[in-house]
C-alpha cells in the first residue's frame, strides 16, 4: 500500500495526470464501514474491472464516485480538480462521467429514442437534430436502432441494457462506470452486452466495471482490482490478479470461480 501511494503522488507531478483520483474515500452505513479508506487513481484509457464477493463495497464505490451515495470522508478528483459537494459541480462532473446500472434505469415514460436524447438536450443543451443524430449513431453501435419507437417495458433485459449504454455514450463521457451491467440478465443476453462493452474497451474508452463475470474481467480489463470487505485486496494487471494472486482471500475466491470461468470461455468460443 505504502509503495502504491508513492506512485500516485509522483503521478501528480508528471504530465500524465490521472483522469480520476479516488482520495481516501470512507463510506459508513451507520456503524458499518463499507469502504475503508480507499485510495487509487485511474489513468485515461484504463479499463478497470472491480471484482470481489457481494457486499465487499464494489457498487458502493462506484456510487460514491459519481455522488449517488454521499461519502463519509474523502473526495474524488477529476483531472486533478476536486469535485465540490454542491449540486452544480456534482451535476457538471456527472455529465462527463457516465454510469450504467444493473437495473438499467431507462426512463419508463419515454421511448428508446427519447431516452437517448434527453441528456444531450437537457444537460448538454444540444439541439434536437444533433441529439437525434447522436442517439441514432450510438443506438446503431449497440444494435438497437430499429427499436427507437419502443418503450423500455417492451424490451428484454439485454436490449434495455444496450440502450442504457447507448444513452450513456450520447453524452460523450470521459469515463464510463458500469455497476454490474449483466447481473440482472439471463445468460443468453449477457454475451450481447459484454460484446458491446468489449468494443468500447477496444476503442480506448476509460471504464470502471464492477462485475461478476470473471472471464470477461480477465479478457477485457487492463487492470483488475479485487475488493474484499471494503479494502483493495489486490490491484494489478489481470494476469497478476487472476494467475498469481498474492492475497489468500483472492486465491480462495478465484478458485471457486475456476469452473465457471472455463464454462464461460467455452461459451464464448461457441459464440465466435
Amino acid at each position: 500500500m505504502e509503495i502504491k501511494q508513492d506512485i500516485i503522488h509522483s503521478d501528480e507531478h508528471s504530465t500524465n495526470t490521472p483522469i480520476l483520483k479516488i482520495d481516501h474515500i470512507v463510506k459508513k452505513f451507520g456503524t458499518h464501514e463499507v469502504l475503508k479508506d480507499l485510495d487509487f487513481s485511474v489513468q485515461k484509457g484504463e479499463v478497470v474491472c472491480i471484482i470481489g464477493s457481494s457486499g465487499s463495497g464494489k457498487s458502493t464505490l462506484l456510487r460514491c464516485i459519481n455522488g449517488l451515495e454521499k461519502m463519509t470522508a474523502g473526495s474524488v478528483y477529476f483531472h486533478n480538480q476536486k469535485i465540490g459537494k454542491d449540486s452544480k459541480s456534482i451535476n457538471h462532473f456527472r455529465s462527463q462521467v457516465g454510469m450504467v446500472f444493473q437495473s438499467f434505469n431507462l426512463f419508463n415514460n419515454m421511448t428508446v429514442l427519447q431516452n437517448c436524447m434527453t441528456g444531450t438536450i437537457k444537460v448538454l443543451k444540444k439541439d434536437k437534430e444533433e441529439s437525434k443524430h447522436l442517439a441514432i449513431k450510438y443506438l446503431k453501435q449497440v444494435g438497437m436502432a430499429p427499436y427507437i419507437n419502443a418503450k423500455p417495458e417492451q424490451l428484454s433485459g439485454g436490449q434495455k441494457q444496450r440502450v442504457a449504454i447507448a444513452r450513456a455514450l450520447t453524452m460523450h463521457p470521459q469515463v464510463l462506470l458500469f455497476d454490474e451491467p449483466t447481473s440482472a440478465l439471463d445468460p443468453e443476453m449477457v454475451g450481447d452486452v459484454l460484446k458491446v462493452i468489449k468494443e468500447l474497451a477496444n476503442n480506448g474508452l476509460t471504464m470502471m466495471i464492477v462485475t461478476h463475470e470473471m472471464a470477461f474481467a480477465r479478457d477485457v480489463s487492463t487492470r483488475t482490482i479485487f475488493m474484499d470487505q471494503g479494502l483493495i485486496a489486490e490491484d494489478g494487471t489481470p494476469d497478476e490478479v487472476f494467475k498469481h494472486p498474492k492475497n489468500a482471500r483472492v486465491k480462495e475466491f478465484l478458485s471457486r470461480y475456476i469452473n465457471d470461468t472455463n464454462l464461460e470461455t467455452e461459451h464464448k468460443k461457441k459464440e465466435a
Binding site: 459541480s89 456534482i90 456527472r94 426512463f107 444537460v123 436502432a145
Partner: protein
Amino acid sequence: MEKGFFYWIVQLTKEYWPYFIKGMWITVVIAIIGTILGFIVGFLIGMLQSTKVSEGDNITKRIGLSTLDWICRAYVSIFRGTPMMVQAMVIYYGLKMGGASISAFSASIIVLLLNTGAYMAETVRGGIISVDVGQLEGGFAMGMSHSMTMFNVILPQAFRNIIPEMVNMFLTNLKMTSELNVIGVAELFFVTKTAAGTYYRYFEAYIICAVIYYILCTFFTKLLSSIEKKTFDKKDYELAAEYMNLDEGEKNGN
C-alpha cells in the same frame, strides 16, 4: 286526495328546472375549477416536499426550503384536519371581515382548491415515492438536476400512477360542493333547498337533486376513464425499418 310522489316530482321539475340546471352548472364549474387549481397546488407542494437539499447547497437555499416545507406541512395539516364546511365559513366570513369584497362563488372555489391542494399534496408525494428510485438515479447519472429529472422523468410517471386517485378526488369534490351551500353559493344543493322549501316537499326535491348528482358523477366517471384509456393504453411499437438493414449489414461486417 293528497297529491302523490310523481305529481310533485313533475311539478317541482316543471317549475324549477331552470334553477336546477343553473345549480348543476355552478356545481360543475366550482368542482372543475377548484379541483384543477387544487391539483396544481398539490403538485407544487408534493414536489417541494420531495426535494432534498444537497450537502453543498448555500444557506439561503437551505433556509428557504425548510421554511417553505414548514409552511406546507402546516397548511396540509390544517386543511386535512378540519371539515370543509367549517373552512368555508371561516374563509368566507374571515375575508369579508377583513374588508375583501368577495362573492360566495369565488370563495367557494378558493375553499375547494385549498382543500383539494392539501389532499393532493400527499397523493402527489405518494406518487413520487412510488416511482422507482432508479429513475431518479438514471437522470442524476447523466448530470440532470433534481428539477430537470423531476419534470421530465419522475412527475410524468407519478402523474400516471395517481390518475385514478385524481379522478376519485374530482368525484368527491363534485359532491362536496354541496357543503358550500353554507356560504350561500347557488349550487345544486342550495337550489334544491330553495325549491323544497316553497311547497315543503323535501323528499321529492332531494330525490331530484340526488338523481342529478348521480347522473353528473356517472357521466364524469365514464368520460374520465375513457380519456385515461385513450391516453395511456399501451400501443405496440413499430420497428424503424430504415435502420434495420444497416444493422444487419454491420453485424455481417463484424
